[in-house]
Subunit: 341 residues, 2 copies
Amino acid sequence: MTQPAAHRRASIADVARAARVSVGTVSNVLNRPERVLPGTRERVEAAIEDLSFVRNGSARQLRAGTITTIGAIVLDIANPFFTDVARGIEERLDRDDFTLMVASSDDDPDREQRYLRLFEEHGVQGVMVVPATNDIDHLLAVRRRGTGVVLLDRPSSDPSISSVAVDDVRGGELAAGHLLDEGHTRIVFLNGPHTIRQCADRHAGVLKALVAAGLDPASALLEVTVTSLNAEGGEAAIRGLLESGDRPTAVFCVNDLVALGVLRTLRTENIAVPTDVAVVGYDDVAFAAELATPLTSVRQPTHELGVRAADLLLSGTDAAAQHVMFQPTLVVRGSSSSSAT
Amino acid sequence: MTQPAAHRRASIADVARAARVSVGTVSNVLNRPERVLPGTRERVEAAIEDLSFVRNGSARQLRAGTITTIGAIVLDIANPFFTDVARGIEERLDRDDFTLMVASSDDDPDREQRYLRLFEEHGVQGVMVVPATNDIDHLLAVRRRGTGVVLLDRPSSDPSISSVAVDDVRGGELAAGHLLDEGHTRIVFLNGPHTIRQCADRHAGVLKALVAAGLDPASALLEVTVTSLNAEGGEAAIRGLLESGDRPTAVFCVNDLVALGVLRTLRTENIAVPTDVAVVGYDDVAFAAELATPLTSVRQPTHELGVRAADLLLSGTDAAAQHVMFQPTLVVRGSSSSSAT
DNA sequence: GCTACATTATGAACCGTTTCACGAGGAACC
DNA sequence: GGTTCCTCGTGAAACGGTTCATAATGTAGC
């Protein structure tokens, strides 16, 4: 039995040698088995097995060109919103036998760039990105070079790039409007940085609601930027507010994880929800309804978002870009209204 | 201005031509800029910009050999347990400037194979896998061919493959033991299929606790296999039990998502927790403490699990395999004990 | 026996990088 | 002025597949 050189993966040439055929034949066995005589095929297959040969994807792709993989870059892989979207994407891709690779940018433009570059250099068919910054020039460049790009959870400002988003202005408006309806006259908004479009939009929505109610945003709104968009960030933010003596009566959180941190803190501080402080979240994650004080939240069609995004990427490499905008809905629960179910 | 051929990405040769240098020089500008005279370098950089050249990752890798990426294959990307682990992995990889690609197998051995193959063919330095089956021969084969493999959340039965796991037998024992301590004499265990090692192990732990308490498992334990390991699966399972008239007094759920579904259902059915039914979950996800009835759960050091796994993969390609086993702890809350805080 | 035509197998060209031995042109030194 | 060293830049040889024109072989038909 011929041994391959130690520590070197067997190549197609090794297989060819072992099976006493040419490399072309091995390649045919791999890609168009019907073209090779059963006897030869078996010999080749035996050699493959014997040498435990694995195709070199880089070489294959270098010559063949394409690959049926698409990449997704989300802001935070630990955020249920994004993973729900990812499930939607996967579901759709599966139908066309595409595979999905997920990477997390952590809101860091550099990391986003790094992964984007990695995906592009490896020739994925397309990337779905939740951009960490407002500026999408780098994505336009990727698009121009021939890789499909779909913006996730963010309307596209450019006609050449498709996008699938949920109306965040409307979401902010729904949340703030609800709090105002409940009689609050001042809202604390625990938001992320405005460099994240969703955050800026939700802020705009809040303003819209305040103005519609005839309030002056300067006094009726306090926006606090949380350090990280998760429970720890929410906890730190609300704790900061409480310690400064500025106890809010209504808190709108940019996502449910932040809201979770807020609820947790309010409970340990024995502050009643919604009597003393009303809380509204965003995303309506699975556990929102089951919390100690069920969380009022803005629901987004996450799964559908992912499915649709994958749809756009698969269907139209050449077709004109499409911009899909879903509408969010408000789910009122006990954390913001004592009259809620 | 020279235009590259339509629909063909610019290659290093195009750049060389445009900058009137050799391909070797372009490569040097890309990889060891200090070796080329500033003037030439600038000319090359201008050409790169001009042609919006992007390295072909396949070609690069084909020649250069390695790549600083590692792949992770988890059972369910929407499960917080796995994404928390992924965060841990990322944190560790970042320190060494490695990148992480995550894929989700959905408990499907075929999908696991597909992604494993994809990762291996593309020459990742290593893969971290939560295997969907008991049989890990395919992983051994990958390891033998030179790609690093670390088993995630699953003790390795093979000396050549490192693993990082949490003692699931102990976890099952803790959960069941606690329920028995609370006075229950019959436990319903909503478990996943035993083909998933974690499920089989937790079951073994439950048995151990029952036997230690002098009970006969045949009558003191009812194991129900849930269709999917999430809230919907939990809801369906408990609903099935209730409709069959077999109302349990103590339910142990294989993870917190399943427990969430159970709690949700019990609440809509107006069944009191823990008075009528005690519930224990597994994973101690972030929201467990904040639920309407705070959920008793088995806590696993998820983040640490990920960090340690990445550690093993990065440190020891050649070093002997290591098997790390963490111990879980039980966090008692209101869902299982009226005396809990 | 000769041509015509499938059917299989072959081997070289090619994909786009990196790497490396080598050459050209100075500078430095004796 | 000749030798030695350096600094830059060159060009061709890999890397490991796929593809395609071509060769070898066999079969049919006349």
